[in-house]
């Protein structure tokens, strides 16, 4: 009886009730079109919940555990369908893919609220960064091995795409952070920019295929570190000129850099914000900036956000707290989430790889929700050009 009495004395924590989100489609949609019956995903560090909007494009959650949630939703339609839903003329190919998406990062959902989320429209790009390997590993003498990093770029469309003239870049990653996305919504400040050679049709990527870029050294690293990767058949090696390094591999020169480093300087334990962009302008005319408050040291070339084709934000994992989302260099439109490896300082043979969304007539289609938290998975023991790993299907 006493125990029963005591057991009634403590108040239980309660859930947030009747949390409501009204989703707003882009303004060019017909008023009658609603964001109805679409999946909305709530992700906290401890759990993931999925809900569905009602006929009016409103999501009402009767009860949810109070927490900080990243709220994501997306709706993918073809260009042909898109044109039926809008009330204006827009030049969009029927075969194009249109993605409507909305993201709220770390939204503090601790009390009942009614909020609105506006959906952004995105014309789906064809080229995706599909693998980023920077953790390094241990060599055969158990020493740190860091020269095997690479980046892989994938053609996610059903048409041949040419890499000629496009740029692969790394955002600045100094400590303390110099140019955070939250403070700079329209530009990315870069540490290094590499330009793919070619005259327009020199370097094709077939649908469902990828090219491999050795960030430092295009050789079979497995002879030095058995857990490493074979980059001897990489398509590009980041270096100044052809004939050096692995003479069989084409050079991908660093065009712009805040340092004198001649290779793609992926940091072993992250952060690494990697992106692809395309422009007709002369990027060397784009301005460079010192870190705020400094008048010397590294200068970071500024890239307009509208030129970006794809990007992945790889944050550093903090041992006690996990990645700090406040240190993102990429705006939500580039990468609404972030990826990270488990290791806090590297050497764990971990790679970040894009999940497989589907296989259509033998062509692999990778997941692209513009959110690397959702799209990428950590793979231990990466293999370049391989998309058969069962973990990629989760």
């Amino acid at each position: 009886m006493v125990l029963l009495l005591i057991s009634c004395t403590r108040e239980e924590p309660v859930q947030v009730q009747n949390f409501r989100i009204t989703f707003q489609l882009p303004s060019n949609f017909k008023p009658a079109v609603k964001y109805s019956e679409k999946e909305v995903i709530f992700t906290s560090p401890y759990a993931t919940y999925k809900f569905v909007t009602d006929q009016n494009g409103v999501l009402t959650i009767p009860e949810i555990i109070p927490d900080e949630y990243t709220i994501n939703t997306s709706w993918e339609i073809s260009g042909a369908d898109y044109k039926k839903l809008i009330d204006s003329q827009e030049l969009v190919e029927d075969k194009a893919t249109i993605l409507m998406k909305a993201t709220l990062t770390n939204y503090p959902l601790f009390t009942q609220k009614d909020i609105q989320m506006a959906l952004d429209k995105l014309i789906m790009r064809t080229l995706l960064i599909s693998k980023v390997y920077f953790s390094g590993t241990k060599d055969n003498s158990n020493r740190n091995y860091t020269v095997d990093s690479y980046v892989e770029i994938f053609n996610n469309s059903d048409e041949r795409v040419y890499l000629d003239g496009k740029y692969l870049a790394l955002a600045e990653s100094v400590t303390p952070a110099a140019y955070l996305a939250k403070d700079h919504p329209n530009h990315i400040y870069t540490r290094q920019i590499c330009k793919f050679p070619g005259v327009g049709t020199t370097y094709p990527i077939e649908p469902g295929k990828s090219i491999v870029i050795a960030a430092r050294n295009a050789r079979d690293h497995r002879s030095s570190a058995s857990t490493s990767v074979d980059l001897s058949d990489a398509d590009f090696e980041v270096k100044d000129t052809d004939g050096t390094g692995n003479p069989d591999v084409k050079a991908l020169p660093v065009l712009s850099s805040s340092t004198s480093i001649k290779f793609l300087n992926l940091i072993t334990g992250a952060p690494n914000a990697v992106f692809l962009f395309e422009t007709d302008e002369d990027i060397m005319q784009w301005p460079e900036f010192f870190a705020p408050g400094k008048t010397s040291g590294e200068r970071f070339r500024r890239v307009p956000i509208e030129t970006v084709l794809d990007g992945i934000e790889c944050l550093k994992n903090n041992a006690s707290t996990g990645p700090d989302v406040n240190l993102k260099r990429f705006q939500d439109i580039v990468d609404a989430g972030f990826a990270f490896i488990n290791a806090t300082s590297g050497y764990t043979n971990e790679s970040l790889e894009r999940k497989v969304s589907a296989v259509i007539d033998g062509r692999v289609v990778l997941k692209d929700t513009n959110n690397s938290t959702e799209d990428f998975v950590i793979i231990k023991g990466p293999v370049p050009r391989n998309y058969d790993n069962p973990q990629l299907l989760n």
């Binding site: 006493v2 125990l3 005591i6 057991s7 004395t9 403590r10 108040e11 239980e12 924590p13 859930q15 560090p45 401890y46 759990a47 555990i65 109070p66 927490d67 900080e68 503090p108 601790f110 241990k138 158990n142 303390p176 705020p292 408050g293 400094k294 994992n317 041992a319 006690s320 707290t321 996990g322 700090d324 406040n326 488990n342 290791a343 806090t344 300082s345 590297g346 050497y347 764990t348």
Partner: protein
């Protein structure tokens, strides 16, 4: 630690000096059994009220023992080790400062090596603060504990009598395998007390309780470099996060304050002595990390009831006890953000954790333990101890741990009962050989586990623990003690003893936990 050792030496030296002053009156060898009977009759020793000790005195003397014991088996919980190898030194003395003020002091030192333990690097793992931490890799833990207790009480000259208890404990627990943790604990309490004689036969007492304890784990180290080594931080039930390299830069401390008190009632005539005590204390514990990081706080309310009845019937002394303890604990979990502020002039960033939300009572722990016993002693007419003792006991214990949002729960109850006895196999002059035995059985009454999710914590901790609680048990224990006068020195009147003991807990599914030990000691005036 140095202060503690110095304090211990001063205390023991002080007791010894008192002993030196009093030993002129020594005429015979002290009797260990007589002292044990006196302690049984000192009912107030079962409470925190030191003032009450004056109503049933124990002869002056020091009882010192050195003990080596081991235990091992597979009947243990998941966050406990599978073996213990321990060495314990303890000494306890009753004495007096003067004719009006008496004292009881005790000191013990324990060294233990706990083998093959995992999932917890803290001292209090179960039914306590849920914000614990540990490694999944089994390792040995070495523990050192120093316990010091001092009770000072006046001899009643009026209706009021006064006393005070001071407790001081320090301990050190260190893990011997990567990731290597080392925790330090300090725990002290001060308990002033008073009794008031209501009538010739009745007294009431009250004690007030303040306790402080702190457990600190400054950081972890590694000898080897295993890049995949995980470290786990828990928030309750299966809710935990394991991070590769999570031990780097990790530190934590638990800081508690307790206040409480108890009321006592004592009735006594020539044949009957009854003591009733009811009390409670409240604990508030903060869990702290670096940069004001705190996963949550813990509080508990602990209720205690005790009834102790002594009946003298010819040469028999009956002791009936009924005790109950109830714990009602709860943890408030914090959700925090790391806020970074940069000085624009210097470029220096400072980071601090800020609590953005608190889940009240997200983890709740309740325990209840009730025990009743009867034990009788057949006293020797000369007053030199007892020929035999026999007793029965029974009880019920229950615990529950609940984590809310989403709800996970584990709980179990067990009834137990048994018999114990001691028989004097041999007794001549001051030489005695006694055998003591115990039989005990425990039966599960209820057990339940409802988990919101399955993960490696549920698989490796909660499910094995659930199986542990579901098992019925049978326990046997036996000891043989030889008591002898130490006649090698004519001037010193010392009684020595040597003891061997062993036991086993048999649990269903062929699990067992065995223990054995040897002890030597002596009793002085």
């Amino acid at each position: 630690m140095k202060k503690f050792i110095i304090f211990s030496i001063i205390l023991l030296s002080f007791c010894e000096s008192i002993y030196s002053q009093a030993k002129d009156s020594v005429t015979k060898y002290p009797d260990i059994q007589s002292r044990e009977l006196q302690i049984v009759q000192q009912q107030w020793l079962n409470t925190n009220n030191a003032a009450g000790l004056a109503f049933s005195l124990v002869n002056k003397g020091s009882y010192t023992s050195l003990e080596r014991f081991v235990s091992s088996g597979d009947y243990h919980r998941a966050q406990e080790g599978s073996s213990n190898k321990a060495l314990k030194f303890s000494t306890q003395r009753y004495d007096r400062f003067n004719d009006k003020i008496y004292v009881r002091g005790s000191f013990s030192f324990l060294m233990n090596n706990e083998g093959e333990r995992a999932w917890s690097d803290v001292i209090n793992t179960y039914n306590s603060n849920p914000y614990i931490y540990g490694s999944s890799v089994k390792g040995d833990y070495q523990t050192q504990k120093f316990d010091l207790n001092l009770k000072v009480y006046s001899i009643p000259s009026g209706k009021f009598n006064f006393g005070v208890t001071v407790d001081y404990h320090v301990s050190d627990i260190s893990r011997q395998r990567d990731p290597r943790s080392r925790s330090y604990s300090l725990d002290y309490s001060i308990i002033p007390s008073v009794t008031y004689a209501v009538s010739k036969n009745s007294r009431v007492g009250v004690d007030l309780y303040y306790r402080f304890d702190k457990e600190k784990m400054p950081g972890l180290t590694t000898v080897q470099t295993d890049p995949n080594l995980k470290y786990y931080t828990f928030t309750g039930m299966e809710s935990a996060i394991g991070r590769i390299g999570g031990y780097r830069g990790f530190s934590r401390q638990f800081v508690s304050d307790y206040i409480g008190g108890a009321l006592q009632y004592n009735y006594e005539n020539k044949k009957i002595k009854l003591l009733l005590s009811a009390g409670m204390d409240a604990q508030w514990q903060e869990t702290l990390g670096d940069k004001k990081q705190t996963p949550g706080s813990y509080n508990s309310f602990n209720y205690r009831f005790l009834s102790n009845l002594l009946i003298k019937q010819n040469n028999l002394l009956h002791n009936f006890t009924l005790s109950a303890t109830i714990k009602d604990g709860g943890a408030d979990e914090h959700r925090q953000n790391l806020i970074s502020t940069r000085d624009t002039l210097t470029g220096i960033s400072t980071e601090t954790w800020v609590t953005i939300y608190t889940y009240k009572n997200r983890f709740v722990v309740k325990t209840s333990d009730i025990k009743a016993s009867w034990k009788t002693y057949s006293q020797i007419a000369s007053g030199k101890g007892f020929r035999w003792s026999a007793g029965l006991f029974g009880g019920y214990s229950h615990f529950s741990n609940i984590y809310y949002l989403p709800k996970s729960e584990i709980g179990a109850g067990k009834v137990f009962g048994g018999a114990e006895g001691l028989y004097l196999l041999f007794s001549r002059n001051e030489y005695k050989l006694e055998f003591e035995g115990l039989l005990k059985a425990g039966f599960k009454t209820d057990s339940y586990m409802l988990l919101a999710s399955q993960n490696e914590i549920s698989e490796n901790i909660l499910i094995p623990d659930f199986e542990y609680h579901k098992r019925n048990t049978a326990e046997i224990f036996g000891s043989l003690r030889y008591i002898f006068p130490m006649k090698f020195s004519k001037g010193a009147k010392l009684t020595g003893y040597a003891k061997v003991y062993g036991g086993n807990i048999f649990a269903t599914d062929s699990n067992n936990w065995s223990s054995a030990g040897v002890a030597i000691g002596l009793l002085t005036f």
